[in-house]
Symmetry: C2
Subunit: 464 residues, 2 copies
């Protein structure tokens, strides 16, 4: 039961945190651990990250499948299956998985994104063989009882209500994504559309499971006080017994036609609080960008959008006093396109037109003139400091490698990232800003408080 | 060769004309022909519409499949297959189909919509057995040579360029549809996205053909100087020999989540001419509406949007002088949702804000106050006059029955339509306007001339 709730907590937070974590790959110069990589005969890719500071390990399995791989009409099935993985197998009674981990003194969790689904435990090193046995067991032997599937579906519907429907900013975000992606499945929310979640069946979950959950479509990441030889031995004895499924690797998804019109969506909601403006641009991700382009977008986001020293905050909050807060980020850790996102909350009495004019002024300026060398140096240094800091965190390290490998990056690319960042020039940043901060690639979301209470939006009629 | 060009001419025009044609079903009181309907053993539904005024027949085959039934990532395959159906079979050499019809003194054509694909010939009555034999032949025996498939793909790409890419209003329309439908495949253009058309293969076409082209997924409509007995005999000897395919009927498509945010897309284009505003609302179709709701929307569109006597035209062009033209329509002939659409072209020197305010004033007025009984009577009378007029046209009649039956309407529904229209009350119209002219169900498209020439929009990066 706890497991089914906790993954949801992570649906929003862990995924976003990890997007940044990807960026933070160390080289030897940045106190990098010595990572070992090998592949079992059945195709399971294994990565071992040594960390002997305490006798604990982080054990993660990453499936190279996510919500963007769902068939038409069954949105939410990837996340639903993630919940159901905490139910029963041949060897684990229903709902016991997390309780067993807990009794062994460990913690476990899972999350689903558009591109990946990940399961993990943090536990003392002597328990590693046991959690590997359990994780391998549910890779192959999941059992779904009709009744508990339907109960879990109600849990997810309730979670959707509490996380999306009760949060106007989350509703707007879903609608912005649906407008931003014309054809690509990133326009469908990870948790799924409510009317489709309500129809998900045990068969939908089992079909998705049997297609995608296989050792040759997964990456095992073990970080902690363990040797590669030990991991290899344990993994061979557990995961190694599961046959590969040649059909498991995902298909290429439909891609978007050219981004060619500026879009705008307006949500008026009595619960909205202060009015705010949100904007997303479709930009390349680390997986799709030309060399140094994604790194330039990372630096651009840091300089233009991130925190109180960013250009956006300084202009909107400090100088023009049109916003009470403002910020943004680049989400580059995606198999397909990435996203460059920002927001600003209107200060009291400020019209949204005026707020938007200030936002546009900041963006036009960086697009036309780039940034300064002092800003670029500071941003690079901040990133390096953050990587080093993250190297101290076993879970962050495991997530960095697992996520990046799942979207097709290689270990040299992950570890060479700080070097690539250091090579980004003023011109690279200017070029990225000039190319991608183009209104035609964007959707602008307007969230407004609605004074009078309003009836719920009438749902679309479905086919009769 | 001619056949491959002519279908395209109809892609835009015939489809839209037919949407209106659906509405125009006669009752006995409206000089209706006596229609006969029967089904062959293999599931082919046959409709015979007598018309003995001249010795010609219109022969149509309607497949209950269209662009909205395409698998993910192969947009355009329904229309592409329609083109390829004019290539070769076991018995017809490549490209000869239309030439044979022409040599027999007939005309032929085809078109593809989101819900239907239709092939038809108009020919002298004694040639009917021959065209039935040919049409039945290509229902079962299509042959696709790699080379001619690839050549035809280039033809379609060129057609897309000329019809969509050279027409800013068509580009905007595609983008508006992509925003209006959040999840439903009506958001994908019938002709397909260019980057996907460019990848379509003979295998894609053959897979679609083998799945959907079968007698139990088709409707044969014969209008003209022929008896039901003759049609039955010919059809049994030709179509009757083709086995049913139990897998042919289409699956239910993904439906949209609730329509909850007003959307807006802006296209600036140097070729745009005068600035214009376009708006589409998602509304029920005849297939999804509650009783009299679709009829009320038809009448509302007639009164509010259709022609120089409409409210929109009178207010924008005549009274406020903010538009040089304005109009709109209801497209209710759809398997899933329908669309209520309008546009206005700005008069010289008029700002778009002012134009949009006038549009909104017209719509708010009908939503709040409905229409007058004089307007409603006039609109009903106009429709009846148009139906009677259409009854005189053999092709219009055949299309009316074929289209409506293809989306699941019955003959009594088709023929009872004028009676249903006559029953629509002032209150029904007011209720439809109040329920569906809701900004949250809409997308507004802005088309603006761009003074300076601009580079082409950068295409989205595809997965590397």
């Amino acid at each position: 039961m706890a497991a089914s709730v906790r993954p949801l907590l992570h649906l929003c937070f862990v995924v976003i945190a990890s997007m940044f974590a990807l960026a933070k790959s160390p080289t030897a110069a940045y106190a990098a651990p010595r990572v070992t990589e090998f592949t079992l005969d059945n195709g399971l890719q294994v990565v071992v990250i040594p960390d002997t500071r305490s006798p604990v390990v982080t054990h993660m399995v990453w499936y190279k499948v996510g919500a963007a791989d769902e068939p038409k009409g069954v949105s939410g099935i990837a996340h639903f299956l993630e919940h159901l993985m905490f139910k029963s197998t041949e060897h684990i009674p229903s709902g016991e998985f997390s309780k067993i981990v807990s009794r062994l003194g460990g913690q476990d969790n899972a999350f689903t994104g558009h591109d990946v689904t990940s399961y993990f435990q943090r536990i003392s090193k002597d328990r590693l063989p046991k959690v590997m046995e359990m994780e391998a067991d549910r890779m192959a032997n999941l059992k779904l009882a009709e009744k508990e599937v339907l109960t879990e579906r109600d849990v997810i519907l309730e979670e959707r209500r509490s996380r999306i429907e009760n949060n106007p900013a989350a509703i707007l975000d879903e609608q912005m994504d649906a407008s931003l992606y014309l054809h690509h499945p990133y326009g469908v929310p990870v948790i799924g559309w409510e009317h489709e979640i309500a129809q998900l069946s045990p068969e939908n979950a089992m079909t998705f499971y049997k297609r995608y959950y296989a050792p040759n479509n997964a990456i095992l990441v073990v970080a902690g006080d363990v040797t590669p030889e030990e991991v290899k031995k344990y993994a061979t004895e557990t995961y190694g017994k599961i046959p590969a499924n040649p059909a498991a690797p995902r298909s290429v998804r439909p891609s978007d036609p050219p981004q060619r019109v500026a879009r705008r969506v307006t949500l008026e909601d009595p619960r909205a609080g202060k009015a705010s403006i949100h904007r997303d641009y479709v930009v390349p991700s680390y997986a799709t960008a030309a060399p140094r382009e994604a790194e330039a977008l990372d630096l651009l986001a840091k300089i233009a959008l991130d925190g109180p020293t960013s250009r956006l905050y300084k202009k909107l909050v400090v100088e023009d006093k049109v916003a009470s807060s403002a910020g943004g980020s680049y989400m580059g850790s995606a198999l397909d396109d990435g996203k460059f996102s920002l927001y600003a909350v209107a200060a009291d009495g400020v019209e949204l037109d005026r707020l938007e004019a200030s936002i546009d002024a900041v963006l036009s300026d960086v697009a036309a003139n780039g940034v300064t060398s002092a800003e670029l140096e500071r941003a690079k240094n901040t990133y390096v400091a953050e990587y080093i800091y993250d190297n101290d965190n076993q879970a962050s390290l495991a997530r960095r490698y697992g996520w990046a490998l799942s979207i097709g990056r290689t270990i040299p690319q992950i570890e060479g990232w700080p070097d690539e960042i250091s090579k980004v020039s003023l011109d690279d940043v200017k070029k990225a800003a000039g190319s991608y901060l183009d209104a035609r690639r964007s959707v602008t979301g307007i969230l407004k408080p609605l004074k009078a209470p309003v009836a719920e939006a009438t749902p679309s009629k479905s086919r009769s």
